[in-house]
């Protein structure tokens, strides 16, 4: 059968191509362009080849921000994954109670991210914030996230756990519903206790879902920007300056576009590598 050639089909693809070009491709090319030049001002630019890249890789502040990001992602994963699983196990399996719980749990996910930052910023204030006042005056513990690095770090971590554990919980809930009843029935007949059922049936069957949850949370927490920026602005000092905040300081704060461009390309590369590694792990686990 003859394949019908109709080049008018290209016209149908054109709108998508144009919009993607404007929103993604052209800006990306611009960034690559900037990354090999030093932009001193509008119309003033100097070709510096790979100098920015070398600079970025040697930057001590960048190394600390990178390690800070890794530590943050690790802490956040260690808290959110077990907590999400626990919440999913506690949710009812069906009925109107299940729907109600799911809606309530999903609420933090619906809040715009800068509003999340604002909520916690006010919540943590010692003078007018419920949390800040309670900790300082009723529990008697000194807590000030604008002055103490440790307090700021803890607040950012807890804010992220509050914001994103529902995602893990919802994913695990869906994974749990997918386990056929026969497994639980067989486990009962075998005389298995609740812990054995969790360890030998539920957890192995959640493997795929958990890998997705870990991938999503790692990626998002590694790229985190809005919430800590609104909460602490990166302070006090550099206590909560993550890679993305450092990057915007350079590119927009200092108007060092060349440096910022090189930095963002390297940042982009890190994330691509991690994505690839995780994806391979998921595929391997899926084949097992």
């Amino acid at each position: 059968m003859q394949k019908i050639q109709d080049h008018r089909a290209w016209l149908l693809v054109l709108p998508v191509v144009i919009s993607v070009a404007f929103s993604a491709i052209i800006p990306l090319i611009t960034v690559v362009n900037y990354s090999v030049q030093d932009i001193l001002g509008p119309g003033q630019r100097v070709w510096v080849a790979n100098e920015w890249f070398i600079n970025t890789m040697r930057d001590k502040d960048l190394h600390s921000a990178f390690l800070r990001n890794l530590l943050f992602s690790l802490e956040v994963l260690l808290l959110e994954i077990p907590l999400g699983i626990a919440v999913a196990l506690a949710l009812p399996a069906s009925g109107w109670k299940a729907s109600l719980c799911l809606v309530l749990i999903a609420l933090p996910l619906l809040i715009p991210w800068n509003v999340v930052g604002t909520i916690w910023q006010i919540f943590g204030r010692a003078d007018i914030g419920l949390g800040g006042y309670f900790i300082n005056n009723i529990l008697g513990i000194s807590y000030n996230y604008t002055l103490e690095a440790r307090d700021a770090w803890i607040t950012v971590v807890i804010m992220d756990v509050w914001h994103w554990t529902p995602l893990v919980a919802l994913l695990c809930y869906a994974g749990l519903r997918a386990i056929p009843d026969a497994f639980y029935q067989a486990a009962r007949i075998d005389g298995a206790k609740a812990w054995s059922i969790f360890w030998y049936i539920q957890l192995p069957k959640l493997r795929g879902v958990l890998l997705i949850a870990v991938l999503l949370r790692f990626m998002d927490s590694f790229m985190i920007y809005t919430e800590p920026f609104v909460l602490t602005g990166g302070g006090p000092g550099t206590a909560t300056t993550f890679l993305s905040i450092y990057l915007t300081n350079i590119a927009i704060g200092q108007f060092d576009l060349g440096n910022g461009a090189a930095f963002s390309l390297i940042y982009f590369l890190f994330i691509q590598i991690f994505c690839f590694l995780f994806y391979t792990v998921i595929l391997r686990a899926g084949r097992n």
Binding site: A182, F183, Q185, R188, I189, D190, G191, K193, Y200, I201
Partner: protein
């Protein structure tokens, strides 16, 4: 070893059942004898899985009692009932080896490791799993997984009955025969009560000593495969068993004789109190219908519409009046479409009213 008695048992998924149709299992009374191999046979949705789950304790019946060896176990949960159940889809613990899978029920009951090892080896040898004991259970084929499920039931020495819920559904056809023979071997060796739920009549008829046929929540007949085949007590049993099923022809009472259309049949309604308006059904199996190319005194004239050759026999479809009759005829007989005569032997005819067999129908010579 357990004799299972179901007393006044019924189950409904609706809160206030009124009519029979509201029940998933209609009120019944049944004894499953100790050491018997039973098949629960019926189409999808007839209540056989519900009944099985009531016996195993996974469902609590809305009415009635379940007794094991005289002891009322209706309130007891499954794990206390000394039964094992094999499900339709192989249920194994993915992260464990085959050995650990078989040892799991024993370890949960705090059996000594030495005894666990010995018992697992025994059962693995019986089920021919010894070579796979060290392998991880998740990568194995479906039939080995079902053997593991079965093994987990056998490994417990306190198991009195094993319940099977269509266990061979996912197994390849050529392995089904192997597993069925294995089940029979186990039955002979351990003398356990086995209850096997299936919708496949071949499985039921080859496996069981007694077959319980269920239809729309009620038990319609309990009997040996022979009894079900030769004297079905219900039109459903006639239709469901046999391939093709029994021919069920509408008949009526005409001048004191049971007739199909205008042709009288060799059955004497005798003492049956039949009324001319009754909707009677006459049943005869295709295996017993005899073909004749020429008219004989007690044969019905028919029109042959189709002859199908199925290897060493033929299925002949014929029209009697407006109704179709199938006959299983030997491959050697030369049969052509067109006029012919079919003979229904009197002793093979069954008479049914509202689905139930009328037992006093006597054969009579015309």
């Amino acid at each position: 070893m357990a004799e299972v008695l179901l007393r006044g048992l019924a189950h409904s998924y609706k809160p206030n059942p009124g009519k029979p149709a509201d029940y998933a299992v209609r009120p019944l009374e049944m004894t499953w004898e100790d050491g018997g191999a039973y098949a629960l046979l019926g189409p999808s949705g007839c209540g056989k899985t519900t009944l099985l789950n009531i016996i195993s304790g996974l469902i609590k019946p809305t009415q009635g009692n379940v007794l094991f060896d005289g002891k009322d176990v209706t309130e007891l949960p499954t794990e206390k009932r000394n039964i094992a159940q094999v499900f339709q889809f192989p249920v194994i613990y993915d992260t464990m080896t085959v050995f650990d899978n078989l040892a799991f029920p024993l370890r949960n009951r705090d059996v000594q490791p030495a005894d666990v090892g010995r018992r697992v080896q025994e059962i693995a040898e019986l089920l021919e799993l010894t070579a796979d004991l060290k392998r991880r259970a998740s990568g194995l084929s479906a039939d080995i997984k079902q053997k593991i499920s079965l093994g987990r039931g056998l490994v417990r020495s306190d198991v009195a009955a094993i319940l099977f819920d269509e266990p061979l559904t996912v197994i390849d056809p050529h392995l089904k025969l192997v597993l069925r023979s294995k089940l029979k071997q186990i039955h002979r060796q351990f003398n356990l009560t086995l209850i096997y739920v299936t919708h496949d009549q071949t499985e039921a008829l080859t496996f069981a000593d007694q077959v319980v046929v269920m239809f729309e929540g009620g038990v319609v007949q309990v009997g040996t495969p022979q009894q079900l085949f030769e004297t079905p007590a219900h039109t459903f049993v006639g239709y469901f068993i046999g391939s093709p099923g029994m021919n069920l022809l509408s008949a009526r009472l005409l001048a004191g004789r049971v007739c199909i259309g205008d042709i009288p049949l060799p059955i004497d309604p005798g003492s049956l109190h039949l009324v001319p308006g009754d909707e009677l059904v006459v049943g005869i199996r295709p295996e017993f219908v005899r073909y004749s190319a020429v008219a004989t005194p007690d044969a019905l004239p028919v029109q042959i519409v189709r002859v199908e050759d199925l290897g060493n026999y033929q299925i002949v479809t014929a029209k009697v009046g407006e109704q179709l009759v199938k006959a299983k005829i030997d491959e050697d007989a030369q049969i052509k479409t067109g006029e012919a005569w079919l003979h229904f032997p009197a002793e093979r005819l069954g008479l049914y009213l509202n689905g139930k067999a009328l037992s006093s129908a006597q054969p009579v010579v015309i």
